[in-house]
């Protein structure tokens, strides 16, 4: 049985998880300390809203830590928690997309004019969101270019190049075949290269 005197800062994730499973609150806090920045950064770059990202990151940790008994130590803890975080962010983006689609016009509008009059301008919404992004801390050119990527590409590129995860681990986190992950990263890099072509000079 793990002892309570293990140096948490030098312990592996698996050791910290084992201590958490034995009811050590400090071990839970250590897991939060290790992963709060990477998880929050990933979710923040996915949803581009600080408050919402904080809620989703909190939801991720609460879900993971309350289900620590179901974590299988043969997998990396980082893959497990990134998977939960990515699912939370993607679920949120999908829900938001559904909300946006439902704003295509009143279901009661019968003429094209009425549909147009009751619809929200989706193009305007995206522009506004990006302008808002530019105005805040995600405002660097590269951040804006990342924000323009499809969410699937965004997850892949962030996990690969910001978090430094291997292709195999990304495939495990996202539940995608390795080939698909490589294709997504390739496409994302092409899009980023095009967006940032002027940086070459």
């Amino acid at each position: 049985m793990p002892s309570g005197r293990v140096d948490l800062a030098g312990a592996t994730d698996q050791e910290v998880v084992a201590l958490a499973r034995h009811g050590q609150e400090t071990a839970y806090r250590e897991l939060v300390r290790r992963y709060e920045r990477p998880i929050f950064s990933l979710v923040y770059r996915m949803v581009r809203d600080r408050e919402l990202a904080e809620d989703l990151a909190q939801e991720t940790f609460v879900k993971a830590l309350n289900a620590i008994e179901s974590y299988r130590p043969e997998f990396k803890f980082s893959s497990w928690i990134f998977k939960i975080a990515n699912n939370a962010a993607i679920d949120h983006l999908r829900r938001r997309e559904l909300d946006t689609l439902s704003l295509d016009g009143s279901p009661h509008a019968e003429t094209p004019e009425a549909i147009e009059a009751t619809a929200l301008q989706i193009g305007d919404r995206q522009e506004t969101a990006l302008e808002e992004v530019e105005a805040r801390e995600l405002g660097g050119e590269i951040e804006v270019a990342i924000a323009r990527l499809r969410p699937e590409y965004r997850s892949c590129i962030l996990l690969r190049h910001v978090e430094g995860r291997a292709y195999e681990e990304i495939a495990e986190i996202l539940g995608l075949p390795l080939g698909t992950v490589k294709t997504y990263i390739h496409r994302a890099r092409n899009e980023l290269r095009l967006s940032l072509a002027h940086l070459k000079q």
Partner: protein
């Protein structure tokens, strides 16, 4: 697999180039192909920009907010459960006894369900008898209780006292006052002392 000499570098090749271990034939292609050299250069710039991105921190108190919603198991309860489990399932004899109990419990449950399904009339008759008897007992009990109260010597006085609205209001006010005073007294008795207590030991 051999690559065609004129094939451009793949994503894996570019990754290998960024990591500094590009194969010989790929390196030869890169040296000769302006397009791949340009792509590789842009890849390097992009990878540097991505790797240099800031890691964001959540607001202060994030860990506390997380921990407020996490149910940390009680180590003492966990240890007790583990030792109980060890005691219960530690030997073959204990496992055999637990398995026997499980078989007996599950067997009786199955027999009970089977009997109930094959004797619906008997169950319906028992239900009717139980509900009829229970209703009769409840009614009898209620009557006995009310008769008992009416026959008490203080009943006439109580009825007289509650007879007028003014007296009823006065009694209610008195009772409420007594209740509130009782609450305050209880709170004072249970309050944690703010200063040192003379008889307490360090």
């Amino acid at each position: 697999m051999n690559r065609r000499p004129d094939a451009h570098l793949s994503l894996d090749d570019l990754d290998a180039w960024l990591a500094g271990h590009l194969g010989q034939s790929e390196q030869a292609h890169l040296d000769a192909c302006d397009e791949c050299r340009d792509t590789a250069r842009t890849e390097r710039i992009l990878a540097r920009h991505l790797a240099a991105l800031t890691a964001f921190s959540p607001s202060a108190g994030f860990a506390d907010r997380v921990m407020a919603s996490v149910a940390v198991p009680d180590p003492f309860a966990l240890r007790s459960m583990q030792s109980a489990r060890r005691r219960l399932f530690g030997t073959r004899k204990a496992i055999a006894a637990a398995a026997m109990i499980a078989v007996v419990v599950l067997g009786s449950m199955a027999a009970s369900v089977g009997w109930s399904l094959s004797h619906p009339q008997a169950i319906a008759a028992a239900g009717t008898w139980i509900s009829g008897t229970a209703a009769a007992w409840a009614w009898g009990g209620m009557r006995a209780l009310v008769s008992g109260i009416i026959q008490q010597p203080w009943y006439a006085g109580l009825r007289e006292a509650l007879g007028s609205p003014a007296r009823l209001a006065a009694i209610s006010a008195l009772l409420s006052l007594a209740y509130v005073s009782g609450l305050f007294a209880l709170r004072k008795l249970m309050a944690v002392p703010s200063g040192p207590v003379s008889h307490a030991r360090a």
